[in-house]
């Protein structure tokens, strides 16, 4: 046996692979594609991609979108003008105080709920979640390696 020259091997493999004819596509491919096309065409126009919408619908959509965007911009600017009359610092502080109050209420409710549950239930629940999670990961990995990963 001899060590082949890499260039020689490249030419040989290239020649061998390029002499390989195309593989025949499965008979089911054409049927699947045609069925998918028919299914797409049978969808109402508003569920198809934008490119397939009727021209009038496209124009109406663009007009409405433009109008909606203009309305939003107007609202934001007017709100900004209203806020601008008050002190910016006062406005920011009141927003912060409001956010703090909402978060405080939420945490109070959470703490009350947690206190009402016996600690044993909490630990048991956490352990159950961990066990189920690891079991599912293990089952998934085993199933994949057994059924799908042939290499």
């Amino acid at each position: 046996m001899s060590q082949p020259n890499p260039e020689e091997l490249e030419k040989l493999i290239h020649h061998t692979l390029r002499s390989l004819p195309n593989r025949r596509a499965p008979r089911s491919l054409e049927q699947r594609v045609m069925a998918a096309i028919v299914a797409q065409q049978s969808l109402p126009w508003w569920r198809q991609s934008f490119a397939h919408w009727p021209q009038a619908a496209k124009a109406a959509f663009l007009l409405l979108s433009g109008a909606f965007a203009a309305l939003l911009v107007t609202i934001v600017f007017r709100a900004g003008a209203d806020v601008g009359t008050a002190s910016p610092l006062t406005s920011a502080l009141s927003t912060l105080a409001h956010a703090k109050m909402v978060l405080g209420n939420i945490s109070d409710i959470g703490a009350a709920v947690l206190r009402s549950i016996p600690p044993l239930w909490l630990y048991g629940g956490a352990a159950f979640v961990v066990v189920m999670y690891t079991t599912l990961i293990g089952l998934g990995a085993t199933a994949y390696r057994t059924l799908f990963n042939h290499r």
């Binding site: 091997l9 493999i13 290239h14 593989r23 089911s28 491919l29």
Partner: protein, 186 residues
């Protein structure tokens, strides 16, 4: 106006090429069929331009290659946790096997076309993905090393090494298959 018959004829002309490109890249017939379906659905959307275009074949091949590579990336990311605890970037021990065989003039002196096709397809599928994909891109798609490295987001040296090892592995698989029995023992 597109008629179903026009598109069906178009599809029949190119479906073997599209399927071959996909199956050689992904190494799995069912996945290649899914990819081929996606390619032809995209082709249908652009059929007004494609039906009279001389570059329709090239367009289909490019789309098939890109969709296959996207599929491999998605699939690899999804299942890496389950199946690839060792890094494939660093070639394993099986890759380090020395290339040692007599170089014949061709691999299939005594085989007819169908046997040759079956052996080669099987040998390609036996290659690990990190060797098969750059090999297919280089030899079937005529893609230069630099472009392969860019597409696969790996270094140029890795692409060259993987292709070199893929050629050696392919040659060894073909030898083991007995296809070259007479040649190698002559």
């Amino acid at each position: 106006m597109i008629t179903p018959i026009d598109f069906a004829t178009f599809m029949r002309n190119y479906q073997d090429m599209v399927f071959s490109t996909a199956v050689r890249l992904v190494g799995n017939e069912a996945q290649a069929e899914d990819i081929s379906q996606e390619v032809f659905l995209k082709a249908y959307e652009h059929f007004d331009n494609l039906q009279s275009s001389p570059t329709a074949g090239g367009w289909l091949k490019t789309v098939t290659t890109n969709l296959s590579l996207n599929h491999l990336t998605r699939y690899r990311n999804r299942w890496r946790f389950f199946s690839e605890f060792k890094r494939q970037d660093n070639s394993g021990a099986e890759d380090d096997a020395e290339i040692e065989f007599a170089a014949p003039d061709n691999f299939f002196g005594g085989l007819d076309s169908d046997e040759r096709k079956a052996w080669l397809d099987s040998a390609l599928e036996q290659l690990p993905e990190h060797q098969r994909v750059p090999l297919v891109l280089f030899h079937f798609e005529d893609m230069p090393y630099e472009e392969i490295a860019k597409k696969l987001r790996v270094s140029l040296s890795k692409v060259k090494t993987d292709i070199l090892r893929a050629r050696a592995a392919l040659a060894q698989v073909l030898m083991r298959s007995g296809a070259t029995h007479e040649k190698f023992n002559a």
